[in-house]
C-alpha cells in the first residue's frame, strides 16, 4: 500500500535534510549521467537546447488509494463494488451533499458577503466554533484562552502546519505514528522534515488492537516525542482503544512527557455523536495536558472539496497559546498566505445557527447510522454463510468509515480479480461505499477469499 509510494517517491527521513535532497525524483540509473551533464559538466543549456532541463524526472507512481477508484472505473462487470473510496456514499452508492450544507450555500449567496482575504489564521467565527466543537464550549481551556486555533486546509493542511511547527521548534523530536496509519501521514512528516517511527497498533491475529505493543512502544520512545493518535475511527483499521485503554495511553504519555497529537477526521461521523467522538481528546485535555489536535470537516459535513479544518494547540497558558498561534501563522503565510473562506463560512453558519446545527446532527447520525447498519448486515451475512465458525465480530467492534478485514494481499487480489470488489491491498474496506443490498455479495467474496486463498 503506502510502501510502494515511499520507495521511489517519498524519501525516508534519513534521506532528507532541510534543504531537500537533490535526487528526489530521479531514478538511480540515470543519476550519474544526469549529474555529469547538468551539474558538473557545465554543459550550457544552449548546447542542449532541445532537451528539457527536467528530462531526468521519472513518472511518479500513482497514489495507491486513488488507483483503486481508477481500476474500478475501468471494470465493466455489473457486480463490481468500490470499497476503496474514502468518501461517504448513500445506499444508492451516490455522493452525498448534506441538506444543511445546501442550505448554507444558498444562505451564503443571499448574504452576499465580500471575498476579502481572511486573516492568516482564518475566519475568526470559524476558529471559535471549531475549538468549541472539539473541546466543548464550556471547557475551561476555552475560557482561559489556552487554545491556539488556526484554520487549516482540512486535515492534511492542519497536520502539515503542526508538523512544520514541530520541525522548527522541536528539532530532532520524533513523531510516533501507528502501524498502520493513513498513508499520507508519513508523506506529511517526510516533507516537513520531521523524523517518525511506528508504534505497534494492529494485531492481525485478533484483527484488533495490539494494546501491549502500543504501550510498550510509546514507553520506549525518547522523552518528549509526539504521539500521533486517531481521536476516533482509526484509519485504516477502524479499531479504537476503549475508554479504559485511552486512560492508560494518557498515563504513559504523561509519564514520558510526550506530547499527544490527535488527528480527528471523523468527529460525529464515527458514533453519530460529536461529543462522544471527542471524548478521547477531552479526557487528555481534562488532565491538564498540552495537546495538539488537527480537525477535518471533510467527512462529518461532507465538505471534502472545500478543504476546511483546523489545527488546535492546547497550551498551559494563554501566553504560550498566543506565541504558538503567531508561529503557526508564520508557517502558513509562505505556504498559501491565508486559507479559503467558503468552507469556513459554511461551518460557521451551520454551527452558529441552532436550527442548522440540529439538522446537521441529525444528518450525521443518519450517515453514521447507515454505516452501522451496513456493518450489522455484513456481520450477519458473514456469520450465517461462513460455516467454519470463524469469529467475524470484529466487523461490529470496528468503527467509522473503514474496516480492516484481516485479508492479506493475495486474498485482496482475489477479491478484486474474481469478485470485482475494489479495496486497498492492506485489507481495508470502506463501509461508506457499501450498500445493504450488496452485503451478501461482499460476504460471499470475503468468505471465499479468506478460506480458499492463502
Amino acid at each position: 500500500m503506502a510502501s510502494s509510494v515511499l520507495s521511489s517517491a517519498s524519501l525516508s527521513f534519513h534521506g532528507i535534510h532541510k534543504g531537500k535532497s537533490n535526487l528526489g525524483g530521479i531514478n538511480k540509473g540515470k543519476i550519474d549521467t544526469f549529474i555529469k551533464s547538468k551539474c558538473f559538466g557545465r554543459i550550457s543549456m544552449v548546447a542542449a537546447s532541445n532537451v528539457s532541463r527536467f528530462e531526468g524526472i521519472t513518472m511518479a507512481p500513482p497514489d495507491p488509494i486513488l488507483g483503486v477508484s481508477e481500476a474500478f472505473k475501468a471494470d465493466n462487470h455489473e457486480l463490481k463494488l468500490n470499497l476503496g473510496v474514502g468518501a461517504y456514499r448513500t445506499e444508492e452508492l451516490q455522493p452525498y451533499v448534506l441538506n444543511v450544507v445546501k442550505k448554507a450555500d444558498k444562505l451564503l449567496l443571499e448574504k452576499g458577503e465580500n471575498r476579502e482575504y481572511l486573516p492568516i489564521e482564518g475566519l475568526a467565527a470559524f476558529n471559535k466554533v471549531t475549538a468549541e466543537l472539539l473541546f466543548g464550549a464550556d471547557n475551561p481551556v476555552m475560557k482561559q484562552q489556552r487554545v491556539a486555533t488556526v484554520q487549516g486546509l482540512s486535515g492534511t493542511g492542519s497536520l502539515r502546519l503542526a508538523a512544520a511547527l514541530i520541525e522548527r521548534y522541536f528539532p530532532g523530536a520524533k513523531v510516533l505514528i501507528s502501524a498502520p496509519t493513513w498513508g499520507n501521514h508519513k508523506n506529511i512528516f517526510n516533507d516537513a522534515g520531521v523524523p517518525w517511527s511506528e508504534y505497534r497498533y494492529y494485531d492481525p491475529k485478533t484483527v484488533g488492537l495490539d494494546f501491549e505493543g502500543m504501550i510498550a512502544d510509546i514507553k520506549a520512545a525518547p522523552e518528549g516525542s509526539f504521539i500521533l493518535l486517531h481521536g476516533c475511527a482509526h484509519n485504516p483499521t477502524g479499531i479504537d482503544p476503549t475508554p479504559e485503554q485511552w486512560e492508560i495511553i494518557a498515563d504513559v504519555i504523561q509519564e514520558k512527557n510526550h506530547v499527544p497529537f490527535f488527528d480527528i477526521a471523523y468527529q460525529g461521523f464515527a458514533s453519530g455523536s460529536l461529543d462522544a467522538d471527542a471524548s478521547s481528546v477531552r479526557m487528555f485535555v481534562a488532565r491538564g495536558m498540552e495537546v495538539i489536535a488537527a480537525q477535518s470537516y471533510s467527512k462529518n459535513l461532507g465538505l471534502y472539496a472545500e478543504r476546511i479544518g483546523a489545527i488546535n494547540v492546547v497550551c498551559s497558558s494563554p501566553e504560550a497559546a498566543a506565541r504558538v498561534k503567531s508561529q503557526l501563522k508564520r508557517i502558513a503565510r509562505p505556504m498559501y498566505s491565508n486559507p479559503p473562506v467558503h468552507g469556513a463560512r459554511i461551518v460557521a453558519n451551520i454551527v452558529g445557527d441552532s436550527t442548522l446545527f440540529s439538522e446537521w446532527n441529525a444528518e450525521m447520525e443518519m450517515m453514521a447510522g447507515r454505516i452501522k447498519n451496513v456493518r450489522h448486515k455484513l456481520f450477519d451475512n458473514l456469520s450465517s454463510k461462513d460455516k467454519s465458525g470463524k469469529d467475524w465480530s470484529f466487523v461490529l467492534k470496528q468503527i467509522g468509515m473503514f474496516s480492516f478485514t484481516g485479508l492479506n494481499k493475495a486474498q485482496c487480489d482475489n477479491m478484486t480479480n474474481k469478485w470485482h470488489v475494489y479495496m486497498t491491498k492492506d485489507g481495508r474496506i470502506s463501509l461508506a461505499g457499501l450498500s445493504l443490498a450488496k452485503c451478501e455479495y461482499l460476504a460471499d467474496a470475503i468468505i471465499d477469499s479468506y478460506h480458499n486463498v492463502s
Binding site: 511518479a60 465580500n114 482575504y117 508523506n187 472545500e306
Partner: protein, 405 residues
C-alpha cells in the same frame, strides 16, 4: 506546569497584513488604508464582481453538483482554461501538450508548489528575485528550500527601472539559475520593463539558460487588457523555451479569499510535462491533499462561458481604469500643490501599487499625523484611493516631504 511550548517566541506581525491590523485599531474618521493590495470601489468598499455572483448563482442552482475531493492537481477544466488565459487560446505549447498545470492556492500557493518542486527536482537551487519584490517572495522560496539572491530592479533616483543593473546582475547569474519575473504590474514598485526591454531580458535569460519563473498576479488588472498583460509571458513561451508561471485570480476576479490560482510548467516535450505533472502531485499531497473547489468553480464558469467572459473583461477594465484615474488625480493634486519633487512616476507606474519614493520616516509621519496606513517602504495601494480621499493623501505627502526633520 511549564509549557512544552516555552521556547516558542512571539512571531512579529506580517508587515503587509500588519498594516491593516494597525488601521483597524485606529479610530480616526479620516484614516486611509493604502496597505494591503485589495481593490476598493470609489466608495472605499470591497467589490464582488457581478459576474462572480452570477457564476455562483449558476453553481447553486445546479443540483448535480457534489463536493467530492478534487483530484490532487485540481479542477481539470479550470486548469485548461487557466493555461489558455495566460498563454493564449492558440498557444502551441498547449496544443503540443507541453504544459503541466496544477490548480493551487492563489499566487502564493502556486509559487510555493513550484518552488518545492524545483528544490526537489532541479539541480540549481538559487532563485533571483528583483530588488525590491513582494515581501512574501523571500519567505516562500526560502521555506521551499531554495536560496534567494536579488537582481537590481528599482532605481530610486529615477523611480523607474534600473535596466542596466538588471542586465548585469542576471548576466552574472550561474547558468540554469531560476529567475523570478513579475509578469506585469511589478509589486511593490509598479515599474515594468517596456516591450523592447522584455525582449532583451528574454534573450539574456535564454542565452544563459536561466529558468524564468513568472509571478502573474495582475493579468488584465494592470492595463485593462488580458492579452496585453500576458505579453511578456507569451514572448518567452513563443521561443519554445521552458518556464514556470504562477497565476492568481485574487485581484483580477476579486476572488481574494477563495484562494484561486494555478501553477503552469511549460516544458520542452509532452512526455516531460506528463512526468512533471505526476511529480507535482507528490509535492501537493503532503501539503494539503487537493485544492478547494469553490473559487476554481467560479473562475471556470466565467472563463468557459463567452458572455460571462466578456462581462468579466468589462468589469476588469473598469477596475483597471479606476486605478489609472486615481493615479492621474493624485499626480494632478501634488502638481497643483507644488509639492517638491518629480511625481510623474505616479502616472508612469502601473498596476495596483505605487512606489512613492517616500522613506520610512516620512511614512511614519504620515501614519501618525494623517492616519495614512501604508507599508514602510513607501508603497501605496492605488486601489485603496478614491476621488474624495486623494486630497487628504496629497496633503499628507506634501506635509511629509516639506516638513523639516
Amino acid at each position: 506546569m511549564d509549557s512544552v511550548f516555552a521556547a516558542i517566541v512571539q512571531a512579529p506581525e506580517d508587515p503587509i497584513l500588519g498594516v491593516t491590523v494597525a488601521y483597524n485599531k485606529d479610530q480616526s474618521p479620516v484614516k486611509l488604508n493604502l496597505g494591503v493590495g485589495a481593490y476598493r470601489t470609489e466608495e472605499g468598499k470591497p467589490l464582488v464582481l457581478n459576474v462572480v455572483r452570477k457564476a455562483e448563482q449558476l453553481l447553486v442552482n445546479d443540483q448535480s453538483r457534489v463536493k467530492e475531493y478534487l483530484p490532487i492537481l485540481g479542477l481539470a477544466e479550470f486548469n485548461k482554461l487557466s493555461a489558455k488565459l495566460i498563454l493564449g487560446d492558440d498557444s502551441p505549447a498547449i496544443q503540443e501538450n507541453r504544459v503541466a498545470t496544477a490548480q493551487c492556492l492563489s499566487g502564493t500557493g502556486s509559487l510555493r508548489v513550484g518552488a518545492e518542486f524545483l528544490a526537489k527536482h532541479y539541480n540549481e537551487r538559487t532563485i533571483y528575485i528583483p530588488q525590491p519584490s513582494w515581501g512574501n517572495h523571500l519567505k516562500v522560496f526560502t521555506m521551499a528550500g531554495l536560496s534567494v539572491k536579488t537582481y537590481s530592479y528599482y532605481d530610486p533616483t529615477t523611480r523607474g527601472l534600473n535596466f542596466q543593473g538588471l542586465l548585469e546582475d542576471l548576466g552574472a547569474a550561474p547558468a540554469g539559475a531560476i529567475v523570478l519575473l513579475h509578469a506585469c504590474a511589478h509589486n511593490p514598485t509598479g515599474v515594468d520593463p517596456t516591450v523592447e526591454q522584455w525582449e532583451q531580458i528574454r534573450q539574456l535569460i535564454r542565452s544563459k539558460g536561466l529558468l524564468p519563473f513568472f509571478d502573474s498576479a495582475y493579468q488584465g488588472f494592470a492595463s485593462g487588457s488580458l492579452d496585453a498583460d500576458a505579453q511578456p509571458v507569451r514572448m518567452f513561451v513563443a521561443d519554445g523555451g521552458e518556464c514556470f508561471i504562477a497565476q492568481s485570480y485574487a485581484k483580477n476576479m476579486g476572488l481574494y479569499g477563495e484562494r484561486v490560482g494555478a501553477l503552469s510548467i511549460v516544458c520542452k516535450a509532452a512526455d516531460v510535462a506528463s512526468r512533471v505533472e505526476s511529480q507535482l502531485k507528490l509535492v501537493i499531497r503532503p501539503m494539503y491533499s487537493n485544492p478547494p473547489l469553490h473559487g476554481a468553480s467560479i473562475a471556470s464558469t466565467i472563463l468557459k462561458n463567452s458572455d460571462m467572459y466578456n462581462e468579466w473583461k468589462v468589469e476588469l477594465k473598469a477596475m483597471a481604469d479606476r486605478i489609472i484615474s486615481m493615479r492621474k488625480q493624485l499626480f494632478d493634486a501634488l502638481t497643483a500643490k507644488g509639492t517638491p519633487g518629480d511625481w510623474s512616476h505616479i502616472i508612469k507606474q502601473i498596476g495596483m501599487f505605487t512606489f512613492t519614493g517616500l522613506n520610512s520616516d516620512q511614512v511614519a509621519f504620515m501614519t501618525k499625523e494623517y492616519h495614512i496606513y501604508m507599508t514602510s517602504d513607501g508603497r501605496i495601494s492605488m486601489a485603496g484611493l478614491s476621488s474624495s480621499t486623494v486630497p487628504h493623501l496629497a496633503d499628507a505627502i506634501h506635509a511629509a516631504v516639506t516638513r523639516s526633520s
